[in-house]
Amino acid sequence: MSASDVLFWGLGVAQILLLLAMLMAAGRMVRGPRAQDRVLGLDTLYLNAMLLILVQGMRSGVGLYFEAALIIGMLGFTATVALAKFLMRGEVIE
């Protein structure tokens, strides 16, 4: 087994695991039951998607995936903070 085979299959399995994790988070986002549960599900979904893209960058050897992962991480942070603020006060910018 060469190094590229090990990387291809091993990282593929890791991607499947992360995809399952994303499905679980999406399930929590759909099921609720309350708004804060949905926001928590969305946050986890974002995080797992970011990790999935990092792994995809390693698997394909394309360095550009790093930028995509960074942007997803930042957007996820902003979205969750804005949503938490909205849940607390009813508006985002006071």
Binding site: M1, S2, A3, S4, V6, L7, F8, G10, L11, V13, A14, Q15, L17, L18, L20, A21, M22, M24, A25, G27, R28, R34, A35, Q36, D37, V39, L40, G41, D43, T44, L47, N48, M50, L51, L54, V55, G57, M58, R59, S60, G61, V62, G63, F66, A69, L70, G73, M74, F77, T80, V81, L83, A84, K85, L87, M88
Partner: protein, 113 residues
Amino acid sequence: MTVASDLPLWAAWVIVAATLSGSLLALTGSIGLVVLKRFYERVHAPTLGATLGMALIVIASLTFWSLSEGRLALKDLLIGVFLTVTTPVTLILLARAAVYRDRVEGENDAPPE
């Protein structure tokens, strides 16, 4: 197929082991998100993937890029530092919003003041 076929075999196994354990941790956190009963229990679950899981995958990525580019590639550390700083902030804000909502609506689920 991966471009970096010039990686040594031990490095490939190290990268795969770190990535697999990181994604297993992320999966465990997401399973906890589905299985746990109350919001205040659930809010702990995803941090498993956001801290150690993320760190393991970032370490694997650092190793991969440093070895395949032949120099110290530290840019992935940016994601690690950023997530380490932001995860507690988001989850504290979210938990506070949840406590506020529960108290306003008079749910007895809310923790005491």
